[in-house]
């Protein structure tokens, strides 16, 4: 049987991708971010998962508002990179796992989640901005992309994401192959990218979120979208996707690593968990 062996929550941002592509890993502004990823990278290198399930959001690169899915699951064996408007980056396509993905689709629907099933799923910086910081491999394991609407309200509730993670865990546990699965959720942390409040960040709130994600996730589940937007900026509401990663690991977690750095527009958070419920 398959099982979940770890979880990573981390911010995603085009700025991270740009810093990587421009080779700014040692730049004084960026070095603390890259240094903060090193322990996660070493952990992942030892973990060697067989499969990654990634909960993230697309930024109008695969989906548009003509038909915007609340949840969308990529079920292909290969996920090409999207052109986000300034050309593609120098990476190979992401490998997928169609067999597991269709199993996940079946199991999610049985658990009353109804994602749009995508046999073609291009992926954007929601995944590709941070994956190169977590590994030098291109790529470390097949990845199953599970995109969520955290842009066009009404959004799924924080509780819905918590339940989604539980449904992912259930799907993994009933999969007949002996796979070791890593669950990743990306997005946030505090940032607002429009209006007079452009540039707003709230490191205190971000760190409170990291505390509670580990020890009291129900306190985060109980918050409204409005609370997230008020505390962290309108675009930071995407942090609620981390709740799916947290719940996929079970009741109690062991924190392997945590890092936070907010130099410019977005609170860059990173947290690595292992489940302890077996």
């Amino acid at each position: 049987m398959a099982r979940i062996v770890g979880g990573i929550g981390c911010s995603h941002a085009p700025s991270i991708a740009h810093s990587f592509d421009r080779g700014l890993q040692k730049d004084p502004m960026w070095k603390p971010l890259y240094d903060g990823f090193e322990p996660a990278k070493e952990w992942l290198d030892k973990l060697k998962p067989d499969l990654i399930v990634a909960v993230y959001n697309d930024h109008m690169n695969r989906f548009f508002f003509d038909a915007y899915p609340t949840f969308a699951l990529g079920v292909a064996d290969r996920h090409p990179q999207a052109d986000e408007g300034w050309g593609k980056r120098d990476f190979p396509d992401l490998p997928g796992d169609a067999d597991f993905s269709w199993h996940l689709a079946q199991s999610l629907v049985e658990d009353e989640f109804d994602p749009t099933i995508c046999q073609e799923m291009t992926v954007d910086h929601g995944i590709l901005s941070i994956l190169p910081l977590l590994t030098d491999n291109r790529w470390p394991a097949p990845l199953v992309p599970l995109a969520a609407n955290v842009i066009q309200h009404p959004l799924p509730t924080p509780k819905r994401f918590f339940h989604l993670g539980q449904a992912i865990r259930h799907a993994v546990e009933i999969y007949p192959k002996d796979l070791r699965v890593l669950v990743v959720a990306t997005g946030g942390m505090s940032h607002q990218l429009h209006g007079d409040r452009f540039g707003f960040m709230n490191p205190e709130w971000d760190n409170e979120f990291l505390d509670k994600l580990e020890s009291d996730p129900q306190a985060l589940v109980a918050l409204r979208h409005h609370d997230y937007m008020e505390r962290g900026g309108a675009e930071s509401v995407e942090m609620i996707m981390w709740l799916a990663m947290r719940s996929a690991l079970g009741e109690t977690v062991r924190r392997v690593h945590r890092h936070y750095y907010a130099p410019m527009l977005t609170g860059y958070g990173l947290i690595v968990f292992e489940g302890v419920d077996g």
Binding site: P32, F65, D83, G85, R197, M201, G233, R258, Y261, P263
Partner: protein, 126 residues
Amino acid sequence: MMAGATYRDTPIPGTSVFTGARSRQGYRINKFSMSLTDPANRDAFKADEAGYMRRFGMTDAEIDLVRRRDWKGLVAAGGNIYVLIKVGGAVGENLLEMGARMRGETLDAFMSTRPGRQGVAVPRDH
């Protein structure tokens, strides 16, 4: 603050929540913006900005907002920042420049407010 610009009518200062009403209002702007993920469309837009935008049924007022790089006006007209940055990319303005303009500041003035520039961005591991 315009109608439909807040979430369940609870205003957050300086913030426009991207509700269904706003997505409907800004549909043409956003559809045009999304089209710039195609390199051929980027070239067509750069060759004739107004002519390209008219293909999407954008109004003269909306076209004028793009012509003036009025990102704040475009957001007020229902534009979503995640697609507007594709317009920024096509016209050579990055997100920091767009943001400074939305705040009515020069880029230097905005950058001087950033923790990384002020030397106060301290990494934390707890």
